[in-house]
Symmetry: D2
Subunit: 138 residues, 4 copies
């Protein structure tokens, strides 16, 4: 699979009084990029919900290397690093597109839920999506 | 009815690169203050939902008079100005508690929804809440 | 001048418990679209700041017609409706790109500030930008 | 030192389409609680800025145990776990006040900056604040 990197601009309302993007917003950018990645895989989050499933975040980690400022264009690289049992682990790298600098790295761990809200193993519960994740790891 | 004014502090993550609270956040503060007001009336938003109803915003207006900065304590006064047919109109005044300055004024108009998501006249559909709104206008 | 309409997708973190985009986010979308419009005009907000100027929101109004849901693609049309004295008035229309439905309309009024933070008449203080706004109104 | 625990209610605009508080908001709550803690210590963030210093987040980690819903009251416990060299490490525990359940735990690591924006060792650069942190760890 070939993925188009996710890009976006830092918005004014995402800055804080230090004139840099507030650290909480990178967590939101991770979500944007993860959702875009699944859309590109061909099994988007809306499909997931249409199939009676959900997704819940279990863990997030984020390291801030260089500030991003209003108007900066960023590229967010997404890597599925693990998809085992009920869990999926994803790595993110946020790059400033002008300078090429790596601004932020992070990781999320989420699980998938069935229609009763119980965590399910993707391999058994939704093999189509599981195969896509596995293929994208290769 | 006696209401305790709604107060809160401006948070760091609510500021923007001009080192003032971003204008979009006042709309959120209006919601906080409106929900607190209904809680104090004795018929909170959770009760509304438990009774199979909902609320939908139709309109918002906001005028910015003086900036609020990180750490400023504000008081938000709430006035129900109209509760007729399917609509409720509410006015807000945001004051800086240290200086007493009026920083922001605004208005929202919302309607109430039944469990099918259709707008309903509160007077007929939920007279208990309607009476509380009317009483609070006096 | 020819403008490319501003488009974006509704993000998951922008939804609320009613599974629709929270009303406060449209105010942020207006800002995104206004900034994009100025970028396209050839005098972006960063240029404004580099020239020692700023911009302050005085007023915002927003009417909600139809909800936008997670994953919906929207187009935001921007119209400069007034640029006189120290004020600029802008109208926004948010359309659902799939259905074509008009979901939200709104207006902002802002003023421009010099390096001391005082409101200035754009016509005199920054005729280049003023001419661009006037041209875009035609 | 005796600290009053930081409490607040989950706001409607903080929920997402799963009708739970969106995970990104806990990062903001950590900031609220950390700032409140420094206020209670007697050396608040505004004092820090008045003394020509700043603070920069280097790292954040957050684990989600149980969802928080609209209207839930939460208590956020703050523990300074390390204050060495240029870094300060803080742990957070978010409890549902009604049920007592531990909903979320997390950690931030930040550094302090001098007026040129360079990281400084608090012990040397601002011994008064350093002593307060050390005392609060005991």
């Amino acid at each position: 699979m070939e993925f188009t990197p996710y890009t976006r601009k830092a918005q004014y309302y995402e800055t804080d009084a230090m004139a840099i993007v507030h650290h909480s917003n990178y967590i939101r950018w991770f979500e944007e990029a993860r959702i875009d990645y699944m859309d590109q895989m061909g099994y988007g989050y809306r499909q997931l919900e249409a199939d009676g499933m959900g997704s819940l975040l279990l863990d997030v980690q984020c390291s801030y290397h260089k500030p991003v400022r209003f108007g900066d264009a960023v590229r967010i690289d997404v890597h599925i690093t693990e998809c085992r049992g009920v869990r999926m682990r994803v790595r993110y790298e946020v790059y400033n597109q002008q300078t090429g600098a790596l601004c932020c790295t992070g990781e999320t761990c989420n699980c998938f839920l069935n229609s009763e809200g119980k965590p399910v193993a993707l391999k058994r519960h939704c093999p189509a999506l599981y195969q896509l994740f596995v293929a994208s790891m290769e």
